[in-house]
Amino acid sequence: MFTPPSNPVNKTENLKVSQLCELCHSRKAILKRPKNLMKICKECFYNVFETEIHNTIVSNQLFYPGEKVAVGASGGKDSTVLAYVLKKLNEEYKYGIEITLLSIDEGIVGYRDDSLATVKRNKEQYDLPLEIISYRDLYNWTMDEIVACAGVRSSCTYCGVFRRQALDRGAMKLEISHVVTGHNADDMAETVLMNILRGDVNRLEKSTSIMTSSAGSPVKRSKPFKYSYQKEIVLYAHYKKLDYFSTECTYAPEAFRGTAREYMKSLEAIRPSCIIDIIRSGENLVLKPKKAKKVTTKFKNIKKNDNMEMEVKPNGTISLFKDGNRCERCGYLSSNRICKACILLEGLEKNRPQMQLENDTSTDGKAKLMRDLENLTF
């Protein structure tokens, strides 16, 4: 059941000029934009919020007419607002895209049940088709079972790997080659910070890309909310009374990411623009040219392709995907002989997941740091 937020009854009479919206100068300002500190009214807020997303879509040429697009829908605020706004913009600006909601059922009792119920209501509310793909169907394991076997600590690692594949597979099943996700400016800023804090230099330059795709995978990802503040997304959902689900995943998020998020929120309190500032910085972080090595020329060619995502091997080198490689186990597209998901699954079957994880992530030091950080509270 969805209960919308209450409507206020009190209204300010006799507006002072200083209370007016700084854009239209005709209505009461109701929020201060974190991006540029402007005080604006509800009408202008809807207008700038939607138009900015439209501009992002157009200037980055995210869609082409007739394209089938899946919205990775979790039932949470970001993907709910994304589905709503995308549908609205598609009608208003005639992108000519076909939108489908694509949900992943990880199999987390109590958390996913409720959020899936939200997505099912969204399907009706926005009149969009919905496809649900479950971990059980894909991997024969639910997240609850994985956690029971591998422990809570590595749950996000499993879920991350499995979900990425699941979205890809779901999209392919629907013959859709473009998944849009609700990642917002805050998420992106967080990722830039995390990459600096973890020293993940190979991902640093790519962390602000609006569109990514794993080479070899026919499915591309994009983030139309790249420049949209979390605060504005929540406010938009609030004012529009959108039906979204908000409970933290039962298997709490990665603790280190949590500390970075807390840190960012403290900053935002004194410099509201910091989210967009971090993204700006992120777009300007480039690595020093590598000292001449054999791979240099090859590497340069790859770099020209902005949408290429590269895999980073434990020893810090970059592996280049060959098109059309398939996992020997599941036949799913993969850069390696055996795909990440299958490696994790094998570990689960053997009930020795921890070892597999260490082999998989990166050098021992880094993996250890990650585990240490998971115990850390800020």
Binding site: V17, C24, E43, S59, L267, I276, P289, F378
Partner: protein
């Protein structure tokens, strides 16, 4: 008093340990050697051994090449000063020659600090740790930033809120004595929330002054005392205030002997070896909650700021402090990451002249023009006016602003886009989107009028 077992130093295996860092127990002597060696190693290996080449005693070429040390008289820069003095003294006692001239630059903000600076110089003269064998090899320079401001022509820099372009207006400040803090208050007010913006611009004013001195007097290298923790804080702070593009330049064009030394180690070294609070100009400039000393009887009162008075760098320091003890990896990882960064404008063709920011003088490329970037992601178009009530409000606004415009004089403003992203954002947080700033070139002649030199 209860007797506790004091572990033995893991290096010499003899002396009792006084500090524990990087999972190892050190006695006083081994710890002090450890810190000096870390600095020495950084100095001689950094940037293709450039500094070592400058510093060493040569017999063919003159040995009067000058190195400038930015000396704030905080613990870190004093530790570096002590180390460089020892380096010079070693050269002198072994070769009867010194290989370079060390000059320091201290920027003071007011008369009190200037007086304190002079007292510190007197005190230094009596301290054994800072005894200089070759008297001519060190010079201490000081500049009062307000005196410098009063020598220069100020401009009013105003941000056009419609398109984020910069309006520059020359102003003839009527013989009033300008003070940097007052100048910042005029723009940002006194509210706590503006502390970060004021800190940002004040740091820039100080940085500009130091760099002007560096560029005007033929120095070979600019050395900063920043510890690894401080560098990590600066890297992350620059990232979060949109100044990511200057990280690489800051690290690549200056020398940091303490790159590999944590602040907690600097602090411990200071207490164990230098142990003198009379030569600190501003007290604690970088707070660390973790002491690595085993018996810490010299309790420093750590400045506990309330959250409301914290700036971005305070919050960043706090963040690192919560992880510095057990998660030291993060700090060194951040610095290593920073060192791998390069110039974002490296691939820009030579034909395009880079512009310089009117405030911080960093490079701005056309491709990454901040105003264009902001305008692209920020819509400024209002929604239409619908009701009579809204129309009435609008008319009301129009009459009021029309009155205000009439009052103001129509100055001839020059519009330009010489403002970097970070300065644009900080300027945007000021009450009237404007600041008075000196945009003129600080040359040797101008600096000579305000610089004062001291020799021990």
């Amino acid at each position: 008093m209860e007797e506790t077992l004091i572990p033995v130093c893991e290096r010499c295996k003899e002396q009792p340990a006084v500090a524990k860092t990087r999972k190892e127990y050190f006695c006083k002597e081994c710890f002090s050697k450890f810190i000096l060696l870390k600095q020495r190693r950084t100095l001689i290996s950094d940037k293709d051994k450039f500094l070592e080449t400058v510093m060493k005693v040569t017999y063919k070429t003159p040995n009067d090449e000058k190195i400038l040390l930015a000396l704030s008289f905080g613990k870190s820069s004093l530790v570096v000063l002590q180390n460089l003095i020892e380096y010079l003294n070693n050269q002198y006692s072994q070769q009867q020659k010194t290989g370079f001239i060390l000059e320091t630059i201290t920027v003071v903000e007011n008369d009190d600090e200037y007086k304190k600076f002079k007292e510190i110089i007197k005190t230094l003269e009596k301290l054994k740790d800072f005894e200089i064998l070759n008297k001519g090899s060190i010079k201490f320079r000081v500049v009062n930033i307000n005196q410098l401001l009063n020598q220069e022509k100020l401009s009013l820099l105003k941000l056009n809120i419609e398109d984020y372009k910069l309006l520059v207006e020359d102003i003839n400040e009527a013989a009033s004595i300008i003070n940097i803090n007052q100048l910042l208050i005029d723009s940002f007010g006194t509210q706590y929330k503006t502390l970060s913006s004021k800190e940002d611009f004040k740091n820039i004013a100080i940085k500009n002054t130091i760099e002007a001195v560096f560029h005007s007097f033929n120095y070979k290298a600019l050395v900063y005392g920043s510890s690894m923790s401080k560098l990590a804080t600066e890297i992350v702070t620059n990232t979060v205030i949109g100044r990511g593009d200057v990280i690489a330049k800051n690290l690549d064009t200056k020398f940091y002997p303490l790159t590999d030394v944590f602040y907690s180690e600097v602090d411990a070294y200071y207490q164990l070896v230098i142990n003198n609070n009379d030569i600190l100009l501003k007290g604690e400039e970088f707070s660390s909650s973790n002491s690595i000393l085993i018996q810490n009887d010299n309790h420093f009162e750590i400045l506990k700021k309330s959250k409301q008075t914290k700036t971005i760098s305070d919050i960043t320091m706090d963040y690192f402090n919560t992880i510095e003890g057990d998660y030291a990896n993060v700090i060194s990882t951040v610095v290593k990451t920073g060192l791998k960064l390069g110039n974002p404008n490296a691939f820009i063709s030579a034909s395009e002249n880079l512009k310089h920011c009117k405030i911080c003088s960093s490079n701005i490329s056309k491709k990454q023009n901040p105003a264009d970037w902001i305008n692209k992601i920020t819509v400024m178009k209002p929604a239409p006016i619908n009701t009579d009530e809204e129309r009435a409000n609008y008319d009301h606004w129009k009459t009021e602003t029309a009155l205000a415009v009439d009052k103001g004089s129509e100055a001839t403003n020059e519009e330009c886009d010489n403002l970097c992203y970070g300065c644009t954002v900080t300027l945007n947080t000021s009450s009237h989107k404007s600041i008075k700033w000196n945009t003129s070139n600080k040359d040797a002649a101008l600096l000579n009028q305000v610089l004062e030199d001291f020799v021990l």
